[in-house]
């Protein structure tokens, strides 16, 4: 065998060539780009200013009565930060966070061109996005007045550095350098499988901390975090972020095709879902990936209904459908875990901002129940499936509301002590939340054939908006009622 040395272009050279060729076919003018930028900046300025005003006026946390209250609040915010970081980690790892499109992988990154050089700009964008997201969160925390007396600039800097560090850390996790299959993401994980270990741990610890704080507070013990100057935190976060970014930079060359293409499908689906206003495009892919990871399940016959039920065709059918829905929940344990974890939210909110506890409870109840509506969503969206299952649509939909309904009833009763009373409106509010879940789950594929109306913001389709907010509209009304009745 002979060896021939081939001169491969640098990543930057190939990128320039690709950009030049692609731009030659585009008809986007510089003026058009500048107009888009101008519109974006204007929108951020107008709505951002309005948001800042609203937050300062209505959402600012009430001043704490004592140092003990302040300590509890700080500890709960720390727990919230952990949960946010965990969710951010999971989202980033679902996408990669570095990913290549099919075309990019095949025609450019799949060539002998330096892999690290090709990915370097993408790493920059990921770290920048992490820093931006962190800074925004830090700014919001500062706005609501929970910066524990420190300067808002320090809070923003700390959060931005933490966001950048977290983003870089997800890239390090993505590289999974030199690990065997079992250690990379669990046996049998498919290419680019979501690595949820760290994210789950962060969310779990966050909820555990919140739970501990709530329990201690109920027992008369007021925990507090050590008082560390915010700029010390910022310095430490910056150092950690820099170290993480450098490590990620060094590992870019170890990112293989399997790691880089796993999130592409999800990212493409997210883009299409946003462009076409079809959230189902994204949720379908997430479901597909979830069940692909499961792979195989143990099939068992559904239990025989009792004689009273078996005697009626309608009840027998319902019995089987509810059993199937229960089995579905059993195979999605994360939904049950989320349902239980969200129990903590109203109890934490009543310590942080008592006035917001009632509406937050409504929203948390919706989130806890909505995750249990997978069967309802499937049945509502597929006319073919409904025809195959037989029976009336009302029976099919009603059967798939049994499990979410019971779960919501238990959840609602378990969080009733938050408000210290159980008024007559409680069942009505719970039914409202269930109705919001039903409306959300029964959302049909978006239709674009509605009438357009000329508004100051341009042409809009009211029908499009009503389709998009289906479910959330009822939720907003219920939350408002809960706020008024608090």
């Amino acid at each position: 065998m002979t060896a021939a040395a081939v001169s491969v272009p640098a990543a930057r050279t190939l990128r320039r060539r690709l950009r030049r060729v692609r731009s030659a076919h585009r008809d986007t003018s510089l003026g058009g780009i500048l107009t888009d930028v101008y519109m974006g900046v204007m929108a951020v300025a107008i709505y951002g200013t309005a948001a800042v005003t609203v937050i300062r006026r209505h959402l600012r946390l009430p001043p704490t009565a004592s140092a003990a209250d302040s300590g509890v609040r700080a500890a709960l915010l720390f727990a919230a930060a952990l949960v946010t970081a965990g969710l951010g980690w999971q989202t980033a790892r679902s996408l990669g966070p570095l990913y290549l499109t099919g075309a990019g992988r095949y025609w450019a990154a799949g060539t002998p061109v330096d892999r690290a050089g090709w990915l370097r700009p993408a790493l920059g964008w990921v770290v920048l996005a992490g820093a931006g997201g962190g800074a925004l969160l830090g700014f919001l925390v500062g706005l609501v007045g929970a910066d524990a007396g420190g300067p808002i600039a320090g809070t923003v800097t700390t959060a931005a550095a933490a966001g950048a560090g977290l983003a870089a850390a997800t890239v390090i996790a993505q590289s999974r350098i030199g690990l065997p299959a079992q250690a990379r993401g669990g046996a049998g994980s498919d290419a680019g499988a979501i690595r949820v270990g760290v994210g789950t741990a962060l969310v779990g610890v966050g909820f555990a901390v919140a739970l501990a704080v709530i329990a201690l507070d109920a027992g008369g013990v007021h925990p507090s975090l050590p008082a560390v100057p915010v700029w010390w935190c910022a310095g430490a976060a910056l150092l950690l972020a820099a170290a993480a970014a450098m490590t990620a930079l060094r590992r870019l060359g170890r990112l293989d095709a399997a790691a880089l293409t796993g999130g592409a499908q999800l990212a493409d689906a997210a883009t299409l879902a946003a462009v076409f206003l079809q959230p189902a495009m994204l949720s379908d892919i997430i479901e597909l990936r979830r069940w692909r990871r499961v792979g195989r399940v143990r099939s068992r016959p559904f239990g025989r209904p009792p004689a009273l039920v078996a005697a009626h065709d309608r009840y027998r059918r319902m019995w089987t459908l509810v059993h199937a829905d229960l089995r579905r929940q059993w195979r999605r344990p994360t939904s049950a875990v989320a349902w239980a974890a969200l129990l903590v939210v109203p109890y934490a909110t009543v310590l942080l901002a008592p006035a917001a506890a009632a509406p937050v409870r409504v929203v948390a109840g919706y989130l806890a129940t909505q995750r249990l509506c997978a069967g309802l969503r499937t049945v509502c969206r597929s006319a073919a499936l409904r025809r195959t299952l037989g029976g009336s649509d009302r029976l099919l939909r009603g059967s798939h509301l049994v499990v979410p309904g019971i779960a919501l009833a238990v959840w609602w009763a378990a969080t009733a002590p938050v408000l210290g009373r159980f008024g007559q409106a409680e069942p009505v509010l719970a039914l409202g939340v269930l109705f919001a879940c039903y409306r959300s789950a029964s959302r049909q594929p978006t239709s674009y054939d509605g009438v357009a109306v000329d508004t100051p913001f341009g042409l809009m389709q009211p029908a499009l908006l009503t389709q998009l907010v289906r479910g959330f509209d009822v939720l907003a009304v219920v939350a408002l009622v809960a706020f008024v009745l608090r």
Partner: protein, 240 residues
Amino acid sequence: MHGNVPIPAATGPAESDAGPRGHHPNGSRPPATLAGVLRIRGLGRRFGDHRVLSGIDLDVGAGTATAVVGPNGSGKTTLLRCAAGIDRPDEGEVRLDGRPVDETDPRVRASIAGVLDDVDFFPDLSVVEHLELLAFAHGQADRVVVDEVLAALGLVSARDQLPATLSSGQRRRLALASCFVRPRRLLVLDEPEQRLDTAGRAWLAARLLAEKSAGCAVLLASHDPQLVAAVSDAELVLGS
């Protein structure tokens, strides 16, 4: 900055004293004993609890072709993806010229040309621009190669078309063309006969025979018995 990547040049058939190749519990037609390019041992892959491949052993020598055959869902594409380094096996090892197949290694990317189920196109690049980009990225400065491949695959009239305007057969031809405008040591093709007309299939068989003659190793999955019979020196039967 440009980098030099040593590409093992394709060589002609050479004798080897290696033992039987293409072993699989389901039975296989052993290939000729030639210098090994691709060596797979004990390969296993599963999705969740679902085992797709288990204990696969396979050798593909220089100047030989091995066909992977079997029904849908038997793991042909997964095996090819693992062989090309696009997917990671859960068990076993895949070696190319004695080195583990690591897709992050530029030498591996330079040596393996593959058309699997993942070929996508830039919507705003024409047929010829796709091929020129790939040839450039592989350090192939000679544009004549691109013109020759376009002519061989009957894509001359479509050279300036964007992918959205191509028929599925033309897209398939473009994907196949991408393998031949660049240096290669191992060809990995997943059902290359798909969407090709009769003339296209005949061209494909002739081209693969020519690749073998030039010393290139070929690993293909196919449902076309005629193509398999015409091209392959060994068969690996999955899922029987």
